[in-house]
């Protein structure tokens, strides 16, 4: 399981839009239960992220934010999961693919 998209979200979304009413949050949310703060810190250390990185060790957010992936009927990929939440709290976009242009489209349409 990888977070290869985090550096891209940092450079393509967080840096350009952080002063424009957008916040990008990377949340580690592992249902395996064997993730810990030291490993997580090491994991993101090389990525030079300035966006907030949060750690949902109990995987509650993983459960609450679950969805079925329409692209893969047989296999529901647990990670990565991308969400865009509007300024009023409404879910605007939910996806199991890392499609940064699509995320930017949603941001632009809702600013």
């Amino acid at each position: 399981m990888c977070a290869a998209e985090l550096p891209r979200l940092e450079t393509d979304v967080w840096l350009p839009y952080q002063d424009d009413g957008v916040v990008v949050i990377a949340m580690s949310s592992s249902i395996i239960g064997s993730e810990n703060p030291t490993d997580l810190a090491e994991y993101i250390a090389g990525m030079d992220l300035t966006m907030p990185v949060l750690a949902d060790y109990s995987a509650d957010v993983y459960g609450d934010y679950a969805f079925t992936d329409p692209q893969s009927a047989d296999w529901i990929a647990p990670y990565p999961r991308e969400y865009v939440i509007g300024a009023d709290g409404e879910l605007l976009y939910v996806s199991a693919d890392v499609d940064v242009p699509a995320i930017i489209d949603v941001i632009e349409a809702n600013r």
Binding site: M1, S28, N36, D64, D88, E90, L91
Partner: protein
């Protein structure tokens, strides 16, 4: 999840999402859950048994010691859950209980859960197995550690082998072949000479290799999206002989006699080995839905839009967890039948199923239907649920802190 067969008692113990569970497997084609009431612990991940003592561990509940009372019953004896304790795999070595712990190493407890010591040199342990007087530890800082445990309360490290990153769990057979489930890889090690273990095969898992069990010449790997079965009779030429797709996520396996048990999150499965053909094959013989806590249901409306009587002869779904009633009926033109579909689940993981409606409809004798089962979950248009989660410095952030801003949230796992 962890699966621990107890062959003498014809039971299997599970460390499961719902807690500790016991399953009667006397007839593997008709398994029964024997645990009633509230299971001990929650989100349990590992278990180890020695005669009447069963210990289960998990990040949330720590370590729980159960005394087996027969027929799948137990009484709780004690717990061990100090602050910062992150228990992973464990093994009984005589009267001693060795517990692998993250950021700590292997801690040695006695039968009353008093701390007796630790394995010298281990600092970040994930799993441990023991055979005779040798223990094999998976340590994220030290790789595979070989430890002399002929004195169970005075472990002596013998050797270390670098096996790279991502190791999750290990198993060993009676020939000293160790198989390690390591995320993107499955690693096979010849440990027949304890002082000089050697990697003999390093394969791509094709998934996320999470847990492994070995029996004789067979290794089974719970590989998240599927379960893989390997022939390790020639360890340097380990090859894949079977692959079973997971229903949810394949998170644990156990091989006992000619049965393969798979913990597939909400569903516990049994496969029977057929060794008669050119290569061994496993056939599904039974499954068990684990402790339903969430009921989801929906109603399917079937309407006869034609001019003739419609005989629906069967409604079936690929996923056996879905109950359907009624499954056959006859409708006059314009008549409607309300078919209730329900499923009982033990976690919030969503899943999908293909279903088929068989009838005497000339144009579509087998109509397809695709169901999403999403017991708690989100979709575009919902209000995003609030959450309260710490950052790496320990400061709590709530989604509501960001009200008025657009939030791009990405969930990932560092494993």
């Amino acid at each position: 999840m962890d699966v621990v067969p107890d062959p003498d008692a014809k039971l299997v113990y599970l460390a499961a999402y719902a807690g500790g569970l016991a399953i009667d497997v006397e007839d593997p084609t008709n398994m029964r859950l024997t645990t009633s009431g509230t299971p001990p612990g929650r989100r349990m991940y590992w278990a180890a048994q020695s005669d009447e003592d069963l210990v289960i561990t998990g990040r949330e509940s720590g370590l729980i010691h159960l005394e087996l009372t027969g027929a799948g019953g137990w009484t709780q004896q004690g717990t061990y859950d100090p602050d910062g304790f992150n228990p992973e795999g464990l093994a009984w070595i005589g009267e001693a209980l060795y517990v692998a712990a993250q950021d700590q190493g292997v801690v040695v407890l006695d039968g009353s859960l008093a701390v007796m010591g630790s394995v010298p040199g281990s600092s970040n342990a994930m799993d441990i197995v023991v055979t005779d007087t040798i223990a094999y530890v998976l340590d994220r800082d030290h790789g595979l550690m070989v430890v002399d445990v002929s004195d169970a309360f005075d472990p002596q490290p013998i050797a270390e082998l670098d096996i790279g990153e991502g190791a999750q769990s290990l198993a060993i057979n009676d020939k000293g072949v160790v198989v390690v489930a390591a995320g993107g890889r499955v690693i096979v090690i010849d440990a027949s000479t304890p002082e000089a273990p050697e990697i003999v095969a390093d394969l791509e898992s094709g998934g996320t290799a999470f847990r492994v069990d070995v029996a004789g010449d067979i290794a089974a790997v719970a590989n998240w999206q599927d379960t893989r079965i390997y022939d390790i009779s020639l360890p340097e030429c380990t090859y894949l002989i079977g692959l079973e797709d997971a229903t949810d996520v394949s998170t644990s396996v156990a091989l006992q006699d000619d049965i393969l048990y798979v913990g597939d999150w909400d569903v516990f499965r049994a496969y029977q080995l057929d060794a008669g053909g050119a290569s061994p094959e496993y056939t599904a013989v039974d499954y068990l839905t684990l402790n339903g806590q969430d009921e989801v249901e929906t109603t399917l409306v079937v309407r006869n839009d034609g001019a003739m009587e419609l005989d629906v002869t069967e409604i079936r779904c690929d996923d056996e967890r879905i109950q359907i009633a009624p499954t056959s009926f006859t409708l006059a033109p314009e008549e409607i039948e309300l078919v209730r579909l329900s499923a009982s689940l033990s976690s919030t993981n969503p899943w999908s199923s293909d279903c088929t409606i068989a009838s005497n409809d000339e144009d579509e004798s087998e109509a397809s239907l695709y169901l999403d089962v999403n017991p708690t979950g989100v979709a575009v248009g919902d209000i995003a649920p609030d959450w309260s989660v710490p950052d790496l410095d320990g400061n709590i952030h709530n989604l509501s802190d960001y009200a008025g801003k657009i939030v791009v949230l990405t969930l990932f796992s560092s494993l």
